[in-house]
Symmetry: C2
Subunit: 267 residues, 2 copies
DNA sequence: CGGTTAATTGAGATAGATCAACATATGTGG
DNA sequence: CCACATATGTTGATCTATCTCAATTAACCG
């Protein structure tokens, strides 16, 4: 526990040690065996949330044929920062964290992904992933060769435009996160985080109020630029002031949304 | 000076006070009078750096016809966060800062733009600008109605793809900035900042070594999530250790690039 | 060249980090 | 199904990097 940071850096080196190219993580937890692959996308519960919604009918069937669904355990690597960006992904179910590491193991989580979120095109620098990706909980992730998606983008300008919109939205979110990291207090950061999680849950068609918090305190800390201890203390503080209620099963009830909103902007 | 933050917040409110829509800043410092508008883009010194490079011949002439060049003083507003995003911009000459404010005046600069940099499509949330933009030094900024650029994007997929690449690069930069803001020390932040400025100068065809620093210490502080005092002290520290030399005229010589690189990653 | 603004330097305060128990889940094999 | 083992979360007591407040100095500009 004391050696946490060093462990993280060493672990990273270990993972990279084997050779220049690592086996694809798709093999690590097994692939779903599916009879009719087309069904995959046609009946996908999160299609309306993702770029796949730009396709219909035969195009969607062709798309489905190129997609592989990976079933991953919790804490499973998807790809590493610096690897050639040969595939793109879509989260079908579960949660993913994207992060960057410093040499000494300090970690910054640059984003969390949930059902319907797209991954692997934006945030790529010079053909390589700009961050690492891991599952937070057991997840189903759709995987598609980059070459394949490039073809679809070329063929369906609507999809490309949608991707541009996604990139613009991600950028706006990134800028908000910069404001949070550069200028907000711990209390403001946590309040902002909880509200944002709630908003995102709503966009996915889930209830706004009991927010599910699938990630650990350490993940939250590394996302908010804090330590676990500060996250824990601040959580307790918000609880004590009755802005939130900690529920069993990694969920949080927002007891006073207005007050939490106020707390997120600096009282 | 003591009331700096409050001033900033009040100033912002004042600027917004007049009415629902503010006069376009293009009128504030005058427009360049140009005989042959087509010449504007055809002979533009930074065309190869910007999205305009996707167009040639007649298409470029049509593009030029739709472009207005604004000549702005230093510290001139370009647009405000929350305004409808009715135009896109390209920096022809000068420097621009993009920033977000909190209600009490705390400011986070989310990016600096230089010659050739594009502005106004990515980072837009729901049709409104996600941040405010101001010039840092006297600048020439190309302005184009959003509806016009949409037409070109539709007509020239090459331009749209280029925009997607730009957005991806911006996102990668934003993620790196999150790592800086969330996990780096003041020393690491400043070293990273100076190196990045140097890299960007090179990409614009300028020398890597005496880096021009057009922005104030306050701007640097608000970009790095620090205070002016800390920026100043850290600058002095790097100078004392002979990693950099402060030159007259807002320039900095990188005396020991390797050491500065090391300092940017945590010694 | 004086006046104004920006940058630097110093002294002291503090939010959040670090170090250290302790508590509470989570899981595992008997 | 319980008792132990391990990971995760909470709480407490310090410590410190950076902020804040306060001068002082340097740069810029008409």
């Amino acid at each position: 526990m004391v050696e946490d940071k060093v462990d993280r850096a060493e672990f990273r080196l270990l993972r990279r040690a084997p050779g220049p190219d690592v086996t694809l993580p798709s093999c690590q937890s097994g692939m779903l065996a599916v009879g009719n692959k087309a069904e995959l996308c046609m009946t996908c519960a999160v299609r309306h949330l993702s770029i796949c919604s730009a396709l219909e009918g035969p195009a969607l069937e062709r798309f489905a044929a190129a997609v592989h669904i990976m079933s991953l355990d919790a804490q499973a690597p998807i790809f590493d920062e610096g690897e050639p960006a040969t595939a793109v992904f879509n989260v079908k179910e579960g949660a993913v964290r994207l992060y960057k590491l410093l040499a000494d193991g300090r970690r910054q989580i640059v984003g969390f992904l949930f059902e319907g979120d797209f991954l692997g095109l934006s945030g790529v620098r010079g053909g390589n992933y700009a961050y690492s990706a891991e599952t937070v909980v057991p997840s189903h992730i759709c995987r598609l060769q980059r070459s394949a998606i490039d073809g679809f983008l070329h063929e369906f300008p609507k999809m490309e435009r949608q991707l541009l919109d996604i990139a613009a939205a991600e950028l706006a979110a990134a800028e908000e996160q910069m404001l949070l990291l550069g200028r907000k207090t711990a209390r403001e950061r946590l309040a902002s985080f909880l509200l944002k999680l709630s908003e995102r849950a709503v966009r996915r068609g889930k209830p706004a109020d009991p927010v599910s918090i699938p990630m650990s305190r350490t993940d939250i800390a590394d996302f908010l630029g804090l330590t676990t201890e500060t996250v824990s203390r601040t959580m307790t503080q918000l609880k004590r002031e009755r802005l939130i209620t900690l529920l069993p099963g990694a969920a949080i009830a927002i007891s006073d949304r207005d007050a939490l909103q106020a707390a997120s902007e600096g009282d």
